[in-house]
């Protein structure tokens, strides 16, 4: 039986990890919400952003966090382009199914290009503050993990404020909830959907930079992320951002706790167990998720 302090340490680490999961799952939820797109390439963009942060740091020595000023707008634009140029070409009747294939291939392309340009070598950013940590009620927490969590939390908060209080956010939520009705109110739903997709990809830029701070990266790493993320949005209820956040926190914490008793690989199965249980017991998801019932 692990000691109480070790359990507490795991809970803290789980919360920190859950924050990153929550941000990334929010992105996935946006794609599905605005376009019924299952975005397999989300985590590939995550790793791409991490590589860009690592590369910029290696070449120029700048803090990886500064790459956000480039990667966030870049990913937003890439998201808009991807939606307008690729996804709108899919036939509406089979969009969701075909989007899996299309974004799967995008993920393979990104992985291949990363391997080609940067080789398959494992990479890690070494920063002045990489090894520093602080005491938090007896738990030792790496500063970089705190920074990563802070970025994820800020980005999520920003997303929330944008969705809830901006004119664009109102139009985006209306488009998600009833596209034809939104159109009839004068909302340019195609343009809004493009921006929504860009916003989703921007979360991958933030997440990837946060990830690069304390994780060893390699081109195929994205496969370790997409499974848990997909599980999170199903458990949370497809299309529900708060649902995704709650599921991300819960499962992130469980994963972290299970690592005490089980190996890292086995701990990750908690996502798939949760996925199966959800599909068997409550297929529309546990938190919110009316959208899933409709589609």
């Amino acid at each position: 039986m692990p000691s109480a302090s070790l359990v507490f340490q795991s809970v803290v680490l789980g919360v920190l990890l859950g924050g990153l999961y929550a941000l990334l799952a929010a992105g996935l939820t946006l794609y599905f919400g605005v376009m019924r797109v299952v975005m397999i390439a989300h985590s590939a963009f995550l790793i791409l952003a991490a590589y860009l942060a690592w590369y910029a740091h290696r070449e120029t020595g700048i803090d990886p966090l500064l790459t956000l000023f480039v990667t966030v707008p870049l990913f937003f634009a890439a998201g808009v382009a991807m939606q307008r140029l690729l996804l709108t070409r899919l036939r509406p009747a089979t969009l969701t199914m075909m989007s899996v294939l299309l974004t799967f291939s995008v993920a393979l392309v990104i992985e291949g290009l990363l391997g080609y340009v940067f080789s398959g070598t494992q990479r890690r950013i070494r920063l002045g503050y990489s090894s520093s940590s602080i005491e938090f009620f007896g738990a030792r927490v790496a500063v970089v993990k705190l920074i990563a969590f802070g970025m994820a939390a800020l980005a999520l908060l920003g997303l929330y404020v944008l969705m809830k209080h901006s004119r664009f956010g109102q139009a985006l939520r209306a488009t998600i909830q009833h596209r034809e009705a939104a159109q009839l109110l004068g909302i340019d739903t195609d343009r809004i959907a493009g921006y929504g997709f860009g916003l989703g990809l921007a979360t991958a830029a933030v997440g990837g930079t946060a990830l690069s701070l304390d994780t060893t990266i390699y081109p195929s790493l994205h496969w370790h992320w997409i499974g848990p993320l997909m599980a999170i949005i199903v458990v949370g209820g497809l299309g529900s951002v708060p649902g995704a956040a709650i599921a991300a926190m819960t499962l992130g914490m469980l994963q972290s706790l299970l690592q005490l008793e089980l190996s890292t690989t086995w701990a990750q199965t908690v996502f798939y167990v949760a996925l199966f249980v959800t599909l068997a017991v409550r297929p529309q998801g546990f938190f919110g998720g009316r959208l899933a019932q409709r589609f």
Binding site: R167, A171, R173, A174, L184, G186, R290
Partner: protein, 254 residues
Amino acid sequence: MSDADFPSELRSEFLLELDDIRAGYGRAALVLRGLTVRVPAGAIVCLVGPNGAGKSTVLKVASGLLTPRSGRILVDGEDVTGRGPQRMLAAGVAHVLQGHSVFREMTVAENVLLGGYTLRDKAVVAERVAFVRDLFPVVAERWTDLAGLLSGGQQKQVEFARSLMVSPRVVLLDEPSMGLDPKATGVVFEQIVRMRDAGTAVLLVEQNARRALEAADTGCVLDLGRVHVAGPAHELLADPQLGELYLGGRPVRR
């Protein structure tokens, strides 16, 4: 009776005119085959007819969701054929869809304010909000509630309020009584009459033909994509043959 029986001296007063419209979906056969409907200012015009007659399609053409293959659409005499929903809305045509079309996970307030999405002037928005809250008391009462939590009839009224934010000249209502119990249906029809009395013309599509014609000024009976009969609603209601064919059984004997 036929389309030609619309009194010609009133022609300039038609707010919305669909003239000899042919329309359909994709490569499938035409749904509307030379349909003509005219909506005068300050009137409720009701389209009735069997399933598949093309009633909803008429509204989709009028709001720009569906571009007709041929024919003309006039709003207040101006040719607006081929415009999309945004520009139709700007011309003064608002469309309330069939079934539930509130944004369920947003509050009543957010729904209504989105109705004014295209309005830039905050003073106008405030004035319209006051107007619709006054016209639909339930909207004012449930202002901060999630729209999805309202009853079917209340949601319909939120949709009406949302559509009136831009001060449309014509409102298109697609089966507003669908799925409502008789009491809620009564309230919704009362509200439709109030909308007309407040100065908005209404083009109404209904399964519940008898109830709709009682509220309407003019009725049009659609069949096979054309207007079969058009005339004052009370005359249609009194016509025994129409009652038999289209209004679900015999008319009330007097």
